[in-house]
Symmetry: D3
Amino acid sequence: MPTVFVYWAPGRSASQKKAVSQRIYEALVEEGGARPEDVLIIFQNIEDGDSARPGLKAASSRITED
Amino acid sequence: MPTVFVYWAPGRSASQKKAVSQRIYEALVEEGGARPEDVLIIFQNIEDGDSARPGLKAASSRITED
Amino acid sequence: MPTVFVYWAPGRSASQKKAVSQRIYEALVEEGGARPEDVLIIFQNIEDGDSARPGLKAASSRITED
Amino acid sequence: MPTVFVYWAPGRSASQKKAVSQRIYEALVEEGGARPEDVLIIFQNIEDGDSARPGLKAASSRITED
Amino acid sequence: MPTVFVYWAPGRSASQKKAVSQRIYEALVEEGGARPEDVLIIFQNIEDGDSARPGLKAASSRITED
Amino acid sequence: MPTVFVYWAPGRSASQKKAVSQRIYEALVEEGGARPEDVLIIFQNIEDGDSARPGLKAASSRITED
């Protein structure tokens, strides 16, 4: 540890993943006092049909109506 | 939050996922007091070969034998 | 499976948890075709200081300004 | 419960998964007092590009230099 | 990786946790080909009120009635 | 999403958590193209007795012996 899981939509390139994990790593070491060799980052790519925010539309239209 | 993860076998249709996530969302808002726009549901589809319940067979046969 | 994790803020009562888990269970069995005895729901209570949405304030003020 | 998640690289055979899950199951029942029918093991196969240990190289080269 | 999460009820002693994690570790190295230094096991202790299997009672009474 | 889980040892201060989550957020937005309002970071504090790396000692002493 620290062990980090990032759940997001697929489609990020290898270089994006590298840049994101490098900066998460730096945040944990520099701000969180983590030992460099202990940081593990795992990306989980969640297909569009496998995530849902059913209440978002209602909230958005409420905001739009204001 | 609430953030919900559902781990299950693959094969559910888009409309099944929609119905399940809608009802989970309603449960969290109506019973749990969650704000509608905060509810996120993520489905993770676990292939058959990637889950195991080694103790189930033993328990089942014990029940059957009774 | 289905195995369900609900991450949310602490403070829900036992009866709220029971009502939420009952309805999640019904959603999975009735809409998702799950076997009743296979459904497991786990609540994880995340203290206020242990979650962050740093980009929410920016988005909210943007909306308010409109 | 116990519910166990194993995050690892893909490529393990069905028989390897069976052997690993059988032994995890035995550990939980024999050492942890779990009921046999309650043990569920889920494998999540994380592709090489979806995990990163940015601090490992630095640590390794430090060790090699010693 | 392998990174392992064990979700179970609280109350296991330190020596039980040590025995369980040692045997999970051995399973992953001996059967799964994992590198010893990469294996991390994390226990998450789920309070009784924070897990639910609403369909279990129904199934149990059905079995008892047979 | 992106939804991020950070599993680490307890003891980080509120300001450390704030700094870490701010920088993880920036990494996801600036490098990963995430929408600011969608980023959620959750910290899970794993007590010392609830994590184990049984193979680390063996590896460390092997390195020390070299």
